[in-house]
Structure formats: structure tokens, C-alpha cells
């Protein structure tokens, strides 16, 4: 009896070192401009080629502007990094979706939307949110640059086998409560280190009811509780999403693939190293108040107090609230905000934009709010126009930018100014994450939409 994780891991084990790591074969490798240049330099220094060039795909996303993408990138250092990616793609014979390409976008958005991401695969990228692809029933995890070099050189990676955890969500999510809330709730319960050393499988009624976009949001955030990755067994929802995508199996391959994919589930009675069970129906919309994703509360709730924390814990907690300009015990609802950011590999998919646009339809953006709406890919941007959402957003006073990681990590010009509060649909509220001194409150696209309209933290369920 095996868990889903065991089945995929075992099927990709090339060799195992005694008392050491496993040599794991990698099906699909994604690269972007920030964590790959030193790996390509390493190949050059060793005189190596890319071992399996067809299994690596490159995109430019982290360091790209979200305006005037048809013009040369202004910042010379960013431009050099993007040029380096292009040169590496050419020299090593790899497919690159550079700025302006119709398949360009955030790496974890374009993988699934082009059908690169499939059940049963092993997928890596020099980016921690590679856990996103686990939504398809794949072992997907973020790696460092030395490991990027390993995969380029050998299509394999050395990895210690993680422990397995299952998190079951029984019941149904209430109206107005989304996968993002479910994820932030889970991280608040387990803390940012609660799943360190584990690979997590999500199960239960609430998980089966999630759309593929929602499953990606949940798996994306697995890394924020320290998990190596998250994983959901593939089902009809998964197959339906993949079918017909550009790089999905076609014709007779499709039938064979689905037949295999149906075997990818945890056997009844298989044991996990750890199990948690939550009741999804008890979850409310969430917001974070602190400087890590585990510092979250129900939107109707209050910031905790120092009670029960040891000395190091108190130092950490005070430092965090001091950075945010908040007090222990304060209410979150009604706090004024300055910025709203919709986008990123967590919530930059078409469904997130549909949710946001449907909420703001017929309403107006608050004058005090600067809003950055950044689609995760060109495809998403095009869909916005095709579905008439673009028009709705413009009429409500919003501007839609061009795709990229943007203010999620603020490597480009999209930085929230010091001291300002941003409601962000992203994954991290770390100090300085959205610009030096920026104060980030993580929330769902729906909560972001409500805040964009009212200019303060607002429960979307209270607005018609």
C-alpha cells in the first residue's frame, strides 16, 4: 500500500545512495532569469551541455516591467539579466518564452496553461512556488541554483526523501470563502515551519470541490508552511483542465495517459507520517497582520496578544507588529489601506480576475487606493479582453498591466512605498517583500476587491 507521493517518487528513482539521498529523475524543468545564470555559468566552466534540452522550458518573469514591454527594459542591470537568459537559451538550445512572446508569463502560470504540467510527473524550478504544480498530482518542488545546474547537466537531482503528511478538509467552504482563505487558515494553524521536512497531500470533500485554479492556489502556498510541496490526486477536474492544452498528450496518447493518471492516488490504508483534519465549513475570509504568512486571522478577528510566547517568540512578535504599525489585540476589519495588488503565481490566473471583476462590476475603485492588476500571463491578459472583464475593470476605475511577477517580490519598478499598506493576493508578507518598508496584508482576490472599493479592510460578504 502506497501513498500517491510514494508512487511518483518510486517511479522516478534512478538510484539511491545508502544513508544518503535519492537520485531522482526530473520530467519537467522550468527556468527563469533570476536563479539560472550562475547554473549556466557552472555548465560552461565544466564544459557541459544541457543533457535533455526538450525537458527544460525558460520564461522571463521575475525581473520584468509590467508597462511598455515592447520597449527595451530601462534598468540596465535587469536588462542584462534578461539578455543573459536569452543568450543561455540560444547557446544551450532551449525553448524560451521571452517578453512579448504569446506564451510568456509567470513560470507557474504558463506551465499548467500550456499543458506542460501533468499528473505523475516530477517537476522542478529554481523557485519555491514550484509547489503550485502539485495541484495536478505531480511531485513539484523549488530548488536552488546548484540544483538547477544538476538538472541541466543530468536531468536528475539528489534529494533526501521527505516525510509524508496528509491534510484532510472535510465539509464545504462557505460562500465568499476561497482556496486562498483555506490555505492561509491552514498555515496560521500549522505555522510557517509546521510542515518542514514533509510533502503534503491534500484530501477531503472541500479539496475535491476545488477548481484547478483553486487547487493551484492551495498547493502554491504549501511552501509557506515549510512543506517541500503539496499534492492533490488527479481526477476528472484535472483531466478536463489539461485536455486540449498545447503540450498535453494528444489522441491515442491521451487515452493511455488518462488510464495511467487514474492509478495515481493513495491506496486505502496507506500510512502517512503525520495527519491533520480540518473542517472547511468553519473557515472565514482571512487576512494576515504580521510579517510571515502564518500570522493570519479571520477578517472579523483580532491580532493576538503576547500571551504564551517565550522570550525569542516575544522579540519576534514585537518586531513584526512594530514593522506593520499594528498593536496586539487590535481589530483588522476597517483598517485603511493604500495599495491593492492582484496577481502573482498565487492568484494571477483567469479565475482570480473573474472573481475580482465580478465583485467590482458596477462599483468604483476608492480614490485613495492605488491598484495594480497584473495578469499572470499573456494568455490571461487575452482572456480578460475576450471575456469582457477588461472593460468591467476599466469602467470601475482600474488599470490592467502587462504580465509578470511584479509587486509580489518587487524586483522591478512595482514597489509599494515604505510605510504604506498593501492588500496583496500574493504569497509573502515578509518585511520589505513588496519594497523596502512596504507593509503587506495577504488576502484573497475577493477580499482585495472589497478593499479596492472601500479603501479599507472589508469583509466581501458584507457588500452586495
Amino acid at each position: 500500500m502506497k501513498t500517491l507521493f510514494d508512487k511518483i517518487w518510486d517511479a522516478h528513482t534512478v538510484t539511491a545512495i545508502k544513508d544518503g539521498p535519492t537520485q531522482l529523475y526530473i520530467d519537467r524543468h522550468f527556468c527563469h532569469e533570476v536563479t539560472s545564470p550562475q547554473a549556466f555559468n557552472g555548465l560552461r566552466e565544466r564544459g557541459l551541455k544541457v543533457f535533455r534540452p526538450n525537458q527544460t522550458t525558460l520564461t522571463a518573469d521575475h525581473n520584468t516591467p509590467t508597462c511598455n514591454q515592447d520597449q527595451p527594459v530601462k534598468d540596465p542591470v535587469s536588462r542584462k539579466q534578461l539578455d543573459t537568459l536569452s543568450k543561455n537559451a540560444e547557446e544551450f538550445g532551449l525553448t524560451l518564452y521571452a517578453l512579448g512572446n504569446e506564451r510568456n508569463g509567470v513560470v507557474h502560470i504558463i506551465g499548467p496553461e500550456n499543458g506542460y504540467t501533468q499528473p505523475g510527473m516530477t517537476i522542478v524550478c529554481g523557485d519555491s512556488h514550484t509547489s503550485t504544480h502539485g495541484a495536478f498530482g505531480a511531485i513539484a518542488f523549488g530548488i536552488g541554483t546548484s540544483e538547477v545546474e544538476m538538472v541541466l547537466a543530468t536531468q536528475c537531482i539528489l534529494q533526501s526523501r521527505p516525510k509524508t503528511m496528509r491534510i484532510t478538509f472535510n465539509g464545504k467552504l462557505e460562500q465568499g470563502v476561497t482556496a486562498k482563505d483555506l490555505a492561509l487558515y491552514m498555515i496560521a494553524q500549522l505555522t510557517t515551519g509546521g510542515a518542514t521536512g514533509y510533502f503534503v497531500e491534500y484530501a477531503g470533500e472541500a479539496i475535491r470541490n476545488l477548481t484547478m485554479e483553486e487547487r493551484m492556489t492551495l498547493c502554491n502556498l504549501s511552501i509557506e508552511m515549510g512543506a517541500r510541496g503539496g499534492l492533490i490526486a488527479p481526477d476528472e477536474t484535472t483531466f478536463e483542465y489539461i485536455k486540449g492544452k498545447d503540450f498535453a498528450p494528444q489522441e491515442e496518447n491521451w487515452e493511455q495517459a488518462v488510464e495511467y493518471w487514474r492509478t495515481l492516488k493513495t491506496d486505502e490504508g496507506a500510512e502517512f507520517d503525520k495527519e491533520y483534519v480540518f473542517d472547511a465549513s468553519k473557515i472565514e475570509p482571512m487576512v494576515t497582520y504580521g510579517t510571515n504568512p502564518g500570522m493570519g486571522v479571520f477578517i472579523s478577528g483580532s491580532i493576538p496578544t503576547l500571551e504564551g510566547l517565550d522570550e525569542t517568540g516575544q522579540i519576534t512578535f514585537k518586531k513584526s507588529l512594530n514593522y506593520m504599525g499594528f498593536q496586539p489585540g487590535e481589530k483588522m476589519e476597517g483598517k485603511p489601506i493604500d495599495y491593492v495588488f492582484l496577481g502573482s503565481c498565487t492568484n494571477g490566473r483567469i479565475e482570480d480576475f473573474r472573481t475580482f471583476a465580478n465583485f467590482v462590476k458596477g462599483k468604483k475603485k476608492s480614490d485613495n487606493v492605488v491598484a495594480w492588476l497584473v495578469p499572470g500571463s499573456h494568455r490571461v491578459e487575452k482572456q480578460l479582453r475576450d471575456e469582457g472583464l477588461y472593460q468591467i475593470l476599466v469602467e470601475a476605475g482600474f488599470e490592467v498591466r502587462q504580465p509578470g511577477c511584479s509587486a509580489c517580490l518587487a524586483m522591478n519598478d512595482d514597489k509599494v512605498p515604505a510605510g504604506k499598506y498593501a492588500i496583496s493576493t500574493t504569497n509573502r508578507n515578509f518585511e520589505g517583500r513588496q519594497g523596502p518598508g512596504a507593509r503587506t496584508i495577504l488576502a484573497s482576490p475577493l477580499v482585495a476587491a472589497a478593499a479596492a472599493v472601500t479603501g479599507k479592510i472589508t469583509d466581501p460578504r458584507k457588500i452586495a
Partner: protein, 199 residues
């Protein structure tokens, strides 16, 4: 990769939990295309004010504390997978980081760069943080061969875990790519049997 055997040194305390890699090296410093120079920007936003002047209250700017070992609160290196964080910590001159636990990717990245992450019990961590507070000249000895860490003031030692393969890599200064390249025939053999559905 620099070889690691035994290090005895004074140490720098950073008693903060969940130190994420965005703090270790903020994203705006990730535009470089080589591995050099990240040590100058280690903890940049805690270390310098917005005009680039050192903040006197941050531990790296306090001459009282020095050494090649960093001791931090639990869950060090969470967040982004950027290996630049490990390059920054080792580029600054640290050979080892001690905490009660580490985020996985940071741990791997460190080991791949000759920087040893040492996991100690919460008790041991509190004790060494207290000792350095009382006496900044207190030293720790990290012996990779014996897999022990010793607080030289109290003489208390703890064993730490590291898998045999990684230990050997650190001791000899070898990396994983050397190993994987030696297994190419196994990889090609594996490829003949793997599940693959085209495109």
C-alpha cells in the same frame, strides 16, 4: 567548494524566529549573474538605513560580536528558494549556521555551498544565546567528523544529524554534480522505462 572539518569560533547571535531568505538577501539584490559579492548585502535592510549607513543596533554592526558561526532562532531560511541567501551568509564569512530547525531548501542550498547548517535542541539554542549575551567571547566548537557541537563555556555537547553522503561531500569539498555525472549510464537506462506520453 571549501572543505569542512572542525570550526571553533566566537559566534553572532540573532535571536529572531522565522528569518526568511528575503531578509537574508532582499530581492532587489538578485539581479546579478554571478555568485560573488552577496556577503556585502547580507541582511541589507536590517543592517543599513535607507541612505546606506550601518544601523548601530543590528548585530552585524556591533563590534562586540564576531565569529564565523551565526546562531539564529528557529525556522531559519524560510521562504524563497534563492540560493543567493546561502551565498550571502557564506560570502560574509560564516562557515556554519546554528538553529533549532531550518527550512528545507535553505538547508540544501547551504550544504551545496560548504556552509554547514547545525540543528540543535531548543534548550541548547537558548543556552548558547544566553552564554553569548553574558560573554561575547564565548566560543562554540563544531566538529563535523564527530557530528558534535560544543558550548565551550559549559562544556555541554550535542550530537547533530547529517546524512553520510552529505557529510562526506563537505569533508572532501565535493559536490552533487560530480556524483550525478558519474551515473549517466544509469540515467539512460532509466529513461528506457519511464512513463512518458509525448510532447
Amino acid at each position: 567548494m571549501e572543505k569542512f572539518q572542525t570550526v571553533t569560533s566566537t559566534y553572532v547571535p540573532l535571536p529572531i524566529e522565522n528569518v526568511d531568505t528575503d531578509q537574508i538577501i532582499p530581492a532587489r539584490f538578485l539581479k546579478a549573474t554571478d555568485k560573488e559579492g552577496f556577503g556585502d548585502n547580507l541582511f541589507a535592510d536590517w543592517r543599513y538605513d535607507k541612505d546606506g549607513n550601518p544601523k548601530p543596533d543590528f548585530v552585524l554592526n556591533n563590534p562586540t560580536y564576531s565569529g564565523t558561526i551565526l546562531v539564529a532562532g528557529k525556522n531559519f531560511g524560510s521562504g524563497s528558494s534563492r540560493e543567493h541567501a546561502a551565498w550571502a551568509v557564506s560570502g560574509y564569512g560564516f562557515r556554519a549556521v546554528v538553529s533549532s530547525y531550518f527550512a528545507d531548501i535553505f538547508k540544501n542550498n547551504s550544504l551545496n555551498n560548504g556552509l554547514l547548517p547545525v540543528v540543535v535542541s531548543p534548550d541548547f539554542l537558548s543556552e548558547i544565546l544566553e552564554c553569548v549575551h553574558d560573554n561575547p567571547q564565548n566560543t562554540l566548537t563544531i566538529d563535523l567528523n564527530q557530528q558534535t557541537i560544543t558550548n565551550n563555556k559549559t562544556g555541554r555537547s550535542e550530537a547533530f544529524e547529517i546524512n553520510t553522503y552529505k557529510k562526506e561531500c563537505l569533508q572532501k569539498g565535493l559536490d552533487d554534480i560530480d556524483y550525478l555525472l558519474s551515473k549517466k549510464d544509469k540515467i539512460e537506462e532509466y529513461e528506457k522505462t519511464r512513463m512518458y506520453f509525448g510532447l
